[in-house]
């Protein structure tokens, strides 16, 4: 490799300047490189262990019936977690419905209408603060605002908690997506006599849409795996749900509940639910990246 370093070393060696020191330096260089690479690949070990165990322990119970049946009672075997899959999809859906429109609209306001304005900088700051708030606080908020107010644990409360969680992600990624649209496109549009609204609707949004969808899907993937906001808002249920105002099962809470019980079958089910959840989250993530890279 034509490296300036090696060239410099060769230069010194030829002149015979302090070659013992040079060997030390070069040795130290290799040592640190090796250490750095070793540490990097050491991070693989736990990840490999997690993936291996999730697949190994999760596969035996994975089958069609697990998606169509109800969880077994304590100590019993058989059944599935169909209600938890539906509950997860429903609550992520509620969260998306609540946070998607305001998040994207706020991003449009920040980027297109008043980039330097006061409301824009306050909103941006707020979104940053919201990303820093622990996810369990979203649950605490939904508990106070919905559960205490209605007197019931419900999927609505869970959905609201997930919505709060998703809002800053959607807002900030949409902002980045809009910032990615070239200035020249906007100027060309104005130059052709389009209004600002026409420019946003016909030029900017279509151009930014793939990146916005990526952000939305990343938010969905994150929310689907979250347990903390649901554990005391949606709680859990052994049954199919019949309304938005009753305790509702989710995959994440099922894993939590079943992992700490002494029944072998339930623990196996927690692993299978983990496998399904990891597949769901990874698939969403990968799709999000593909949607994005297709355009750019």
């Amino acid at each position: 490799m034509d490296n300036p370093l090696t060239r410099a070393e060769d230069f010194f060696k030829e002149d015979g300047i302090d070659s013992s020191k040079l060997i030390g330096r070069s040795l130290g260089n290799r040592l640190l490189t090796g250490l750095c690479i070793a540490l990097s690949f050491a991070a693989l070990v736990p990840l490999a262990s997690i993936l291996y165990l999730v697949v190994k322990n999760g596969l035996p119970l994975l089958g069609w019936s697990i998606f169509t049946q109800l969880p077994p009672a304590a100590g019993m075997t058989g059944g599935g977690f169909g209600n938890a899959v539906i509950g997860t999809l429903l609550m992520v859906g509620i969260g998306l419905a609540l946070s998607g429109p305001p998040g994207i609209l706020a991003a449009i306001y920040i980027c297109e209408y008043e980039p330097g304005g006061r409301l824009a900088s306050i909103t941006r700051f707020t979104a940053k603060l919201l990303t820093g708030i622990p996810s369990i606080i979203c649950g605490v908020f939904a508990f106070a605002a919905i559960v205490l107010a209605t007197g019931k644990f419900s999927s609505l409360a869970g959905g609201v908690a997930l919505g709060v969680l998703m809002l800053p992600t959607i807002l900030l990624t949409s902002e980045q997506a809009l910032l990615g649209v070239q200035r020249a496109y906007r100027e060309a549009s104005y130059g052709l006599g389009a209004t600002r609204f026409q420019t946003i609707r016909r030029i900017v949004l279509p151009e930014a849409m793939p990146a916005i969808m990526t952000g939305v899907m990343l938010a969905v993937a994150r929310a689907a795996g979250e347990t903390a906001p649901l554990v005391f808002t949606a709680l859990f249920s052994q049954f199919w749900m019949s309304s938005l105002m009753e305790p509702t099962a989710s995959l994440a809470v099922l894993i939590y509940n079943f992992s700490i019980v002494p029944f072998e079958y339930q623990v196996k089910m927690a692993w299978t639910a983990s496998l399904v959840l990891v597949l769901l989250v990874t698939a969403t993530n990968v799709t999000a990246q593909l949607v994005f890279s297709k355009k750019h």
Partner: protein, 318 residues
């Protein structure tokens, strides 16, 4: 705004002419709603915490006992647990996190190897917290249990290593948290390493520095504030992380200094007790939530400030 008026043409009619302004207001409403949500969160938590705030005041922070059956609430053990697990996690995650960041920003190995490591780190970030918890129960808990037994037998006279050793302990939670914050440290550190101006790097090489002399002498010092910011933001994440910790820490409300003793964090306390809390306990938990928010916001605020300082500092050199 002005462009809205100059042209909407006769083609789209008067409704279309009004639409632009209307749309502007809708987007502004979106922006306001985000601000409103943050305010609502604070108000709601504060309002519910009020009875506990009035009853216990600041003594809540220094009280060492959490006894719902006697309506006695002090959050100190959980405060200590929160800080301790987060610090353990950072101590463990920082060296590999930074090493990976350096590895990803230099050209030690071909691009494909780097892309692979990057993919792995992103995957670590995508795995849900409960799955870490489940894995921890079956892998890390037995490991720490046997390690703890060995260590406490020999070094039990030290307060931090005193026995008896439990599998569900402060250290177990810290170890799993380390894995969870590693991607944060790596991603932000890498960004600040990549942002180091080429000229500095090349200048170091031109002066005869080896690769690591350049990294340790020039590149890292330049990127240092970014690395510090990464660490602070990771600390914020570690303090707020809930499920994996709740599943692994043993959930004790007794104040203990040993790494191998069960403990609790603010977040795990909330996760465990909210579902069945009543009366004053709800208020006390809301107060604890308020403490957690204050703590994480302060940490994140510091991290963001350092990050912005870094950006400003390197912006000048090109």
């Amino acid at each position: 705004m002005t462009t809205d008026k100059t042209n909407s043409g006769g083609i789209e009619g008067s409704v279309a002419r009004r639409l632009p302004d209307f749309f502007r207001w809708i987007t502004a409403l979106g922006a306001v709603s985000a601000v409103f949500v943050l305010g609502w969160i604070f108000w709601e938590v504060f309002e519910e915490a009020k009875p506990a705030l009035e009853e216990y005041g600041l003594g809540f922070l220094t009280g060492a006992h959490w006894q719902p059956n006697r309506d006695r609430y002090g959050v100190l053990p959980f405060l200590v647990g929160t800080v301790a697990t987060a610090v353990i996690a950072l101590l463990l995650a920082f060296p590999p996190g930074l090493a990976i960041a350096i590895f990803l920003s230099e050209d030690f190995l071909p691009r494909t190897a780097r892309e692979f490591v990057r993919f792995v780190v992103e995957l670590l970030a995508a795995i849900p917290s409960v799955v870490y918890g489940l894995w921890g129960i079956f892998v890390v808990v037995p490991l720490i249990q046997s390690l703890g037994t060995w260590v406490t037998e020999r070094f039990g006279h030290l307060p931090f290593l005193s026995g008896p050793a439990y599998g569900n302990s402060l250290l177990t939670a810290g170890v799993v948290l380390a894995l969870m914050v590693l991607p944060t440290i790596t991603a932000i550190s890498r960004a600040s390493l990549v942002a180091v101006p080429r000229t500095l790097r090349e200048g170091a090489y031109a002066l005869g520095a080896t690769r690591w002399e350049a990294i340790l002498g020039v590149i890292l010092p330049t990127a240092a504030p970014g690395v510090v910011a990464a660490t602070i933001l990771a600390l914020g994440r570690a303090m707020g992380e809930t499920m994996a910790v709740a599943m692994l820490i043993g959930n004790s409300s007794r104040l203990s200094w040993s790494l191998f003793a069960p403990s609790g964090t603010l977040a795990s306390l909330l996760a465990n007790q909210f579902g069945e809390a009543e009366g004053m306990q709800v208020a006390a938990l809301m107060y604890a939530a308020l403490v957690l928010v204050a703590l994480t916001l302060a940490v994140n605020f510091a991290g963001e400030a350092v990050l912005r300082y870094t950006e400003r500092r390197t912006a000048g050199i090109r």
